[in-house]
Assembly symmetry: C2
Homo-oligomer: 174 residues x 2
Amino acid sequence: MDMERVNSMGFGEFVDVFGNIIEKCPLVAAAVWSQRPFSDSEDLENHFFAFIDALPRSGQEGILRCHPDLAGRDLHQGTLTAESQREQSQAGLTSLDADDQLRLQKLNALYRERFGFPFVLAARLSDRDTVLRELARRLHCQPELELHTALGEVKKIGHLRLADLLGADPARVE
Amino acid sequence: MDMERVNSMGFGEFVDVFGNIIEKCPLVAAAVWSQRPFSDSEDLENHFFAFIDALPRSGQEGILRCHPDLAGRDLHQGTLTAESQREQSQAGLTSLDADDQLRLQKLNALYRERFGFPFVLAARLSDRDTVLRELARRLHCQPELELHTALGEVKKIGHLRLADLLGADPARVE
């Protein structure tokens, strides 16, 4: 999909196509449409990220709270978004053994309790061992730093989802 | 549901319950959770509205763009949210005759073209004739005023949806 095509979209189509670049937050795509035309995929992406950066802290935490737990309730109930399902599957989180599953559940709960939002990580850039290690490590970070880290992961996820749609180079964030 | 119950919710449950107070924008509820505890339903509601008011203009337009057309594509495809389905049904928009249907479609398209967001109105406080009359009237308003009017309708819708959940008095906005 080239940018001429993207720039020709009405807001309805734009939100249909880009509404889940930020997980379960079509509001962000719907706001970004105001900024068209976009010069290239990086320009489009920067508008998504600028919107997130401009939100008050409650809104940034809100974006994180719209993400599912990794290998959590939505995965087991089959209610993940298509994008999340694919990403968690690629990281091997759909086929954990019982021990890893239990460990992840406990760490996710501790993390949510400490920070007030779920553990978010770009699963496609990761695997089972890295997810568990990163979760155990970030659980002990300071809240300010952790909010920053988690939003960085939201942006990595968004970059990869945009690259899927636009056929851009996904390597830049790895 | 009393406020003690609301204030005891984790963010997951809070977003499950209040995620569609603002149509298809669970981000708003997810952000409002940061502001707990809430003293009463009006306090809770005010946090939803304050979040909307604090958004940049693109974000406020984005909220409007997450709303469906009245008697539009989502109604005909059966993809409305449960709340919208009920509201549009109560206003008689699910049983329009062919002439009214066509007239509404044309006016909706003109409105979207002029303002860059769909025509939003608290359908439960309205009926078929009022919807058509208001749409024809607001189509000629100035964009700044119309954005303000449309966000006022978003708040009326949110007030009624909150009243449904909390059992509060819905009469205040009528």
